[in-house]
Symmetry: C2
Subunit: 203 residues, 2 copies
DNA sequence: TTATATTATTGAACATTGTTCAATAATATG
DNA sequence: CATATTATTGAACAATGTTCAATAATATAA
């Protein structure tokens, strides 16, 4: 097998994805161009298309990685906490904090870039990773609250949706002007009212 | 004043914005190109730049109009309702329904398109329109619930954030797979738990 | 009416983008 | 050493946003 640089195909594929992620994180999704990316990894635009069918596929790969990092970060921040309400709160904080610290990457996940015609089927692995995120949240809820199993599933999704909305309104420059409180305070309000009825007696 | 077609400058400016809105709504933001838009209004690309400094400014104008339509639609759907919990619920439904029926337009509002360097200060009018939306929600909450004024302000923003998050998760094709309930059902759950303590005795 | 000034509109031009693909250079294999 | 294999290139194309001197249509004045 021929190589100019010493990278196995798998390594180079990873290298390209990492470089793309770095560009998005530091300069925004709009700055991720085939040529800029090629320069960053020390190859030429054509090479990228040997590993990703088009730029959308590359962004999808970045998003997949970002989702994994999000879940890792969340798990790490709550693993040592006692199984009560504070752990749920820490999880919520972790999500919004991640969005804040990785703004452009997080936005890329929810950015719909495809043209009208193009289908947007998600690969199975991607679906599974999202599902895994919800399963994690569901698990935390069941572990930390007096919540029936069916409620936990529904609440996990609702909680994530609300956190997402809060992140958008508090982080997006366009809406920060609406006089919203700091994210953590608003999250406290939501959690106390929404999960109040499930609080364990120990709290 | 010379004109080829019989449109006053103000009319033409409006015409361009409407055509842009139509393109976004029917074919998506990615399909809004200077040339396609020019063709739609029967002019040439150059003309557009006599009315909008660049395509981003045009999209901002479209978003401004969309926000106005959103508020109008919401007001219309709740004006004849009695001032109780059902009115709050109708307002919530109206928001998510609007997002559903005007998906691409609604997404354009929250799409961050500016490049890294470009500043993104919002025009005062735009800010006021967003503020007006929150004032409306706040008013409905105070009118329909037993809620203290400070709580109403905070809750109006939180409610909108949560609704936004729910809309994203239920409408975006990428996440529909997460097994979430129909939006209206999930909204009921949120409202009942979050606003339960504020319910008027009549309910 | 005719001539001049004004201005709305054009369309060609440029830089930048995604994407393709025959040509090429580097390595592996016989 | 010769040949096959394949990773990599870089030139090319179409489409995009954007600019701006040239132009055509109208208003104004003589």
């Amino acid at each position: 097998m021929a190589r100019r640089k010493d990278h196995s195909p798998a390594d180079l594929r990873e290298l390209i994805r990492e470089a793309a992620q770095k560009i998005i994180k530091t300069k925004g999704l709009k700055s991720l161009t085939a040529r800029a990316l090629a320069q960053e990894v020390g190859y030429t635009p054509g090479t990228i298309y040997n590993f990703y069918s088009d730029m959308d596929a590359l962004v999808a790969a970045v998003n997949f990685a970002t989702l994994g990092q999000l879940q890792q970060t969340c798990l790490q921040k709550i693993e040592s906490l006692p199984p009560d309400f504070s752990k749920v709160r820490a999880l919520a904080y972790a999500y919004v904090d991640f969005a804040h610290e990785n703004l452009a990457l997080w936005e890329a996940i929810f950015m719909r870039t495809r043209k009208a015609g193009k289908a947007a089927r998600l690969p199975t692995l991607y679906q599974e990773r999202i599902l895994s995120l919800f399963v994690m949240i569901e698990g935390i809820l069941k572990e930390c609250l007096n919540i029936p199993a069916p409620d936990a599933k529904q609440s996990a999704r609702l909680l994530w949706a609300c956190l997402h909305g809060i992140a958008v309104l508090t982080l997006d420059g366009r809406l920060q002007l609406v006089g919203i409180e700091k994210p953590h305070k608003i999250i406290d309000d939501l959690l106390m009212k929404y999960f109040g009825i499930y609080l364990k007696s120990s709290c």
